[in-house]
């Protein structure tokens, strides 16, 4: 059971009523991940609301307001396991005013499911969702053409959606796109292969999710180890122990490697890689370990241990694609706290280069205000250098958030260009 099963995190996107919640309910139901008391509870609610049959969508809408209004407001996480994999679903709202929640759900996902209603085809929302998925560099995108039952499972209708999608997605940077015709409501091609789509040669959705090749999604080349905290037991048995605790962000670190501590630039050699259970020879992403070095150099939280011949850029001027998450509009040249891996510095948004019209995906060079849900390219200046990689190469060392020090709120998420 525990052996080699990997974890796959995926997010779901689509317009209101495209069938997101129904699809998740169907995945859980057909993979037997729903418990009897949960089923009973939603059967009762379905009856009370006058639905005929069970409304599988009720599994995912959690907060009272969401159940009452029948919409998803915030990201909800769901879990299911098959003999092949464990899955984490981030169910995100599709509304334009919840773009920020979509970005949140997408930030840790290996895959994105984008739903399209077969009757309506690709609409503005679909494009926006695909854009966000590509912006956040979700490695795999699965376009589910839903409600095929309402178009008589027509191959033509399905192909039309594919063509529409490919027409604009060719402009986006997406590594892996697949398409699946399905009916979330009836379960066609969700877990089980549909009898109504002989013309479709591909696998049902669940099989696709179970077999996506995800081990190569993590950067294995650039060794990056942001230090979270220093471990100094000062106990009888470990009097001089000084270990750097953190999680490997990317790449592989081995005992004996010559490393550089950034930003100080001091070099040393890895003496040991420790965990509670073992002393390891090597550590790779996303392992949490504690590293000790041959030399006593000054390293603390916020520093990064890297291999001496492969370093990130140490830079005070960075260009980022920023998604504004806050109700309040950004003030020009306002100062924020920037959080990057375990590091924190002060920062200023020096310039908004352009804003993206998230309806048309066009660049707006005139409107440079940063309002909630806006996505902009900006230049940021920090008080001290950050050790950065581009987001494209490294989702961990390439991402930042901005925090407003007056309110302590997280106001923006940024991907380093």
């Amino acid at each position: 059971m525990i052996d080699n099963n990997q974890l796959l995190r995926f997010t779901t996107a689509g317009s209101v009523d495209d069938g997101k919640s129904t699809l998740i309910g169907r995945l859980l139901y057909d993979s037997k991940s729903i418990f009897e008391d949960q089923l009973e509870a939603i059967e009762n609610t379905s009856k009370r609301k006058g639905h005929n049959g069970v409304d599988l969508a009720l599994f995912t809408d959690g907060l009272r307001d969401e159940r009452e209004q029948g919409i998803t407001i915030d990201v909800a996480y769901r879990y299911f396991t098959t003999p092949k994999r464990k899955f984490i679903i981030a169910d995100t709202p599709g509304h334009i005013q919840y773009t920020r929640n979509m970005v949140t759900g997408a930030s840790t996902a290996n895959a994105a499911i984008i739903l399209v209603d077969a009757r309506h085809g690709v609409i503005e929302q679909t494009k926006r969702h695909a854009f966000i998925a590509s912006l956040l560099q979700i490695p795999h995108i699965i376009v589910c053409v839903n409600k095929m039952d309402l178009v008589d499972f027509s191959e033509e209708a399905y192909n039309k959606v594919i063509n529409q999608f490919e027409e604009f997605s060719s402009k986006l940077l997406i590594k892996d796109i697949r398409f699946i015709p399905l009916s979330a409501l009836n379960g066609d091609n969700v877990v089980n292969r549909s009898k109504h789509t002989d013309w479709y040669q591909g696998a049902p959705l669940l099989h696709t999710l179970e077999t996506l090749h995800i081990s190569s999604d993590i950067n294995k080349i650039d060794a990056r180890f942001p230090v979270q905290t220093v471990i100094r037991p000062q106990s009888e048995s470990h009097r001089d122990y000084r270990g750097y605790a953190g999680r490997v962000a990317s790449g592989v670190l081995r005992v004996g490697d010559v490393i550089t501590a950034m930003p100080s630039g001091f070099t040393s050699k890895i003496k040991s890689i420790d965990t509670f259970d073992n002393k390891l020879k090597e550590a790779y992403a996303p392992m949490s370990v504690t590293i000790t070095l041959e030399d006593d150099i000054d390293i603390s939280r916020g520093d990064m241990i890297v291999r001496c011949n492969n370093k990130p850029d140490a830079s005070q001027d960075i260009e980022v694609m920023l998604c504004w998450l806050q109700n309040e509009t950004a003030k020009p040249r306002a100062k924020y706290l920037v959080k990057h891996t375990s590091n924190e510095e002060k920062a200023m948004i020096k310039e908004v280069v352009y804003k993206i019209d998230i309806k048309t995906l066009e660049r707006l060079e005139d409107d440079k205000s940063l309002n909630m849900n806006d996505i902009c390219k900006v230049r940021i200046r920090t008080t001290k250098p950050l050790m950065v990689d581009s987001y494209r190469e490294n989702r961990t060392t390439g991402s930042i958030i901005l925090v407003d020090e007056m309110t302590n709120e997280t106001v923006a998420a940024g991907m380093i260009v």
């Binding site: 990997q6 907060l63 009272r64 915030d74 769901r78 905290t229 958030i401």
Partner: protein, 301 residues
């Protein structure tokens, strides 16, 4: 050459350790909320791993309702001794005696909601700025919305509609004085993951989780243990059954299930075939569809 990816249980462990280290780095005075149940035992074990070879740098905090299983308290005290950490106890009984809270009345009265006041009082008096819990998103629909770092205002309240966005693994634990955070390192674990992990790590857990003979009463579809706190209805009858508990809460509301599972392997097997959620046996969640959301908003675990 080795495989260079983690299996899911190792990835979940690594994620939880990362969260615990972030808590330690971002807060002045974090504590682990320790109930004696399997989830808080797992969190405590993970904390041990996160700071090894140093000992756990947090205190453990227990909200004692006075309606405990004696086995849980025994287990707690042994663990504290073994780990050499400090224990903070918030007492609901004391709050009742002081008139801070009043005991619920009626047939299904419990001390469940009374814990909120005691918990918040203990957080305030001990100047705790982050309380680490064993909450999991798969437990309940309101919990499915929780962040790893979850903000509480100066009344200890949760505002689920206005949560800080949490992107990648960059956690923002900044807060004003009087506010605090809850942190949930095992957010992404399911009940099955917890059991598989307990088995894999061979963790000690209270004997209550294993099948044992006990005096019980059939009430609200489960076997409620007989105790000095239980008021019997005329129609109810105390019987002997071989049962075990799937979750541990107050002795007054935690229902057991009939079982022969008396080893960890057997429990894991049994849990994997269960068709009811673990909270299905807890009367505290049966009160209404949003019972958990309502309590959480007020400051519940």
């Amino acid at each position: 050459m080795s495989k260079y990816y983690l299996n899911y249980i190792d990835e979940l462990e690594s994620e939880a350790i990362y969260v615990l280290r972030e808590v330690w780095a971002q807060f002045q005075n974090p504590v682990i909320l320790f109930s004696g149940g399997k989830d808080s035992i797992v969190v405590t074990h993970l904390a041990r791993k996160a700071f090894y070879p140093a000992k756990i740098p947090f205190s453990l905090m227990h909200v004692d309702t006075g309606h405990n299983f004696p086995e849980t308290i025994q287990f707690r005290d042994n663990l504290i001794k073994e780990l050499g950490v400090n224990l903070i106890v918030g007492s609901v009984q004391e709050a009742i005696d002081n008139g801070r809270v009043a005991e619920e009345r009626g047939k299904n009265a419990t001390r469940n909601t009374l814990q909120i006041t005691t918990l918040l009082d203990a957080i305030e008096t001990n100047k705790v700025d982050c309380a680490i819990g064993g909450g999991r998103r798969d437990e309940e629909k309101a919990r499915a919305k929780e962040r790893f770092f979850s903000h509480r205002d100066d009344f200890g309240q949760w505002d689920p509609k206005n949560q800080r966005p949490e992107l990648w693994n960059i956690f923002n634990g900044r807060h004003f004085e009087g506010e605090h955070f809850r942190a949930f390192p095992i957010s992404n674990w399911t009940e099955m993951d917890v059991w598989n992990y307990i088995l894999k790590e061979n963790l000690a857990i209270p004997s209550l989780y294993f099948a044992h003979k006990r005096e019980v009463v059939w009430r609200q579809n489960s076997w409620i243990p007989n105790s000095e706190f239980l008021k019997l209805e005329p129609s109810e009858e105390v019987v002997q059954k071989k049962i075990r508990f799937r979750t541990l809460g107050d002795i007054t509301i935690t229902g057991g299930l009939e079982s022969e599972a008396d080893t960890l392997e057997k429990i894991v097997n049994e849990v994997s075939t269960m068709r009811q959620t673990e909270r299905g046996n807890r009367t505290d969640d049966k009160r209404s569809e949003s019972a958990m959301e309502d309590r959480k908003r007020q400051g519940y675990f």
